[in-house]
Symmetry: C2
Subunit: 342 residues, 2 copies
């Protein structure tokens, strides 16, 4: 980290925005007017626009004690892009507004923006506007993401039908274990600041929480294979919660097989260290930013060559939502995902 | 205010969103997918999209001691719509994300949303999505507004040219005096809670700060008269600051006549009570949400029948930005608008 410290007040609001956005290069032809006016302007060339916004609040969604600002900037963008991909759309632009207290230096904000620009670069999106303000307390981040989709090719949560296959990309549960690990190290540090964090061998799970990626490749795969899922959602609150969203909004039930839930080796090892059940971490952990979706059985042959697992199938609503466990048990699926108000 | 208090935790995040959005009626054909999915979907039917986002943070942008929640909801929407009008576009959708502490009840949030929906109704916009979260401290509001404009009919800040007339809608300075008044009453109340606020005769200036309106009618007027301003900005930070934005981004100078700046009688009276110069309030006060714009001299005849004042004209950049005072003085215009980092 740089040794110098420039006070934000030395630049002022407009100076700060100029400073942080001076190197922007526009990548999308749809970006007509970018940063620097009352609003940005976008052209669509006949496509439809997908749009989402998420707030990330210090102390609720992230802890600056163990979250590097560059990673935070990257993640703030990625979690919004994940919502765009979850509609089967391709992200094109973001708008970033932040509220910061005076304890932040210009150099700290530069680190945050480095991460933001790295995500824009990795996902080919343009930063086209936003608002910068002081906050009384805590770092406030608001990201609006826009994406484009061919007319009526977007995929909602509500289209799953009986007989459809329930699929998920990648592997689950790692982000929750990464968070658990960082929280433990934080407690140890608070109690004894001389002890260095022990993250050896935990690179994967820590990386999943601090620097998640959105599944751009899955949406590209759908496009190449001409595979249109019947419903889709991103896994931000835990697999159970997301499955129940799809079932509720599609008015269907489902069967889920525990043995089919994809969980990485590193995740299992981390779970065992904490004496946690890896399946519970996958079902209730959250923040994996994988894609959960349903496809018609006829599209089964189009899968392959990519990390997509079939974890169950869709039933009538009357059958409810059921998980078959490895031990042969049968239980209703319950949402124990992250509830911001508990 | 209702006597009952429902804890937000009794509904949970998803229950809360459902509760607050259950009565939404979609007004715009462009709204394809609204609240309840990973993202919203918009069609454009050949138009371009204008998009903006603003954060409103408790203690920085508003004070709940004297801001009714319904007014706050209304204002949160309106200040964003003002940015859309400032691009010569028509607002169509908003996305609202909020962060709230547990001291808020469901009833309090309902009041806030009543104001949000009242603004949506008044300006014909659809609430199409958002995010609801806890905050550690303070009420956090993020509004993204979208609007539509016929291709290339948007108006930027950067199009003013030498000889153009400098115009402003409505009257200026009132919002700042309303704020000054409310701040005074707050201090009196803190020192002696038995004294009732004295806002008699100040309805106009207090209304301008608590429940501002965006100038929908001005943009409609432009459309009817086929009048395309050469540059435009909304007056959120004070007239001086906005004029300097137009001059800087258009690379021009200007002449402004103090006597032409529109200031209401109620505003003048409130200014005199506080021993403030009404012109200074208009130049540096901010939050008026009027439109400042430039038009070609040839379009002069199209004005009339609406509250638009010509307050000066555009010059070469070399001439700088000058105000001619009522007393015959000549001074450079300096930005003393609201700077969030001072």
């Amino acid at each position: 980290m740089s040794e110098s410290r420039t006070e934000i007040s030395s630049l002022g609001e407009f100076g700060l925005i100029e400073h942080l956005t001076k190197n922007i290069e526009i990548k999308n032809a749809s970006t007509i007017v970018s940063v620097g006016d009352d609003a940005a302007v976008i052209d669509h060339f006949g496509k439809q626009t997908v749009i989402t916004n998420d707030l990330l609040l210090e102390g609720i969604h992230f802890d600056l004690m163990y979250t590097p600002l560059k990673h935070l900037g990257y993640k703030s963008v990625v979690v919004n892009l994940s919502d765009i991909y979850a509609m089967n759309a391709v992200p094109t632009q973001i708008i970033l507004s932040i509220g910061i207290s005076s304890r932040f230096s210009v150099e700290a904000l530069e680190e945050f923006y480095e991460g933001v620009y790295a995500a824009c670069e990795a996902y080919d999106v343009d930063l086209i506007g936003g608002d910068t303000s002081t906050s009384q307390k805590g770092f406030v981040i608001s990201v609006t993401a826009l994406g484009e989709v061919a007319p009526d090719k977007f995929v909602k949560r509500s289209g799953a039908q009986k007989g459809d296959l329930l699929c998920v990309s990648g592997d689950l549960g790692a982000a929750f274990l990464g968070l658990t690990l960082l929280e433990r190290e934080k407690q140890i540090f608070i109690e004894n600041p001389t002890i260095q964090p022990d993250l050896e061998g935990e690179k994967y799970v820590v990386g999943r929480i601090l620097k998640p990626e959105a599944r751009k490749d899955i949406v590209q795969f759908f496009s190449e294979k001409e595979l249109l899922p019947t419903s889709m959602i991103d896994v931000s609150d835990g697999l159970s919660s997301e499955i129940l969203h799809i079932c509720k909004q599609s008015r269907v039930g489902c069967v889920l097989y525990e043995e089919k839930i994809p969980i990485g080796e590193e995740t299992k090892m981390a779970a065992f260290k904490f004496n946690l059940d890896p399946t519970a971490c996958a079902l209730s952990g959250g923040e994996d930013y994988e894609l959960l979706f349903t496809i018609k059985q006829d599209d089964f042959d189009k899968l392959g060559g990519i990390d997509i697992a079939i974890i169950g199938y869709i039933t009538d609503a009357e059958a409810g939502s059921t998980i078959f466990t490895k031990g042969g048990g049968k239980h209703p699926i319950t949402a124990q995902g992250w509830n911001a108000f508990k």
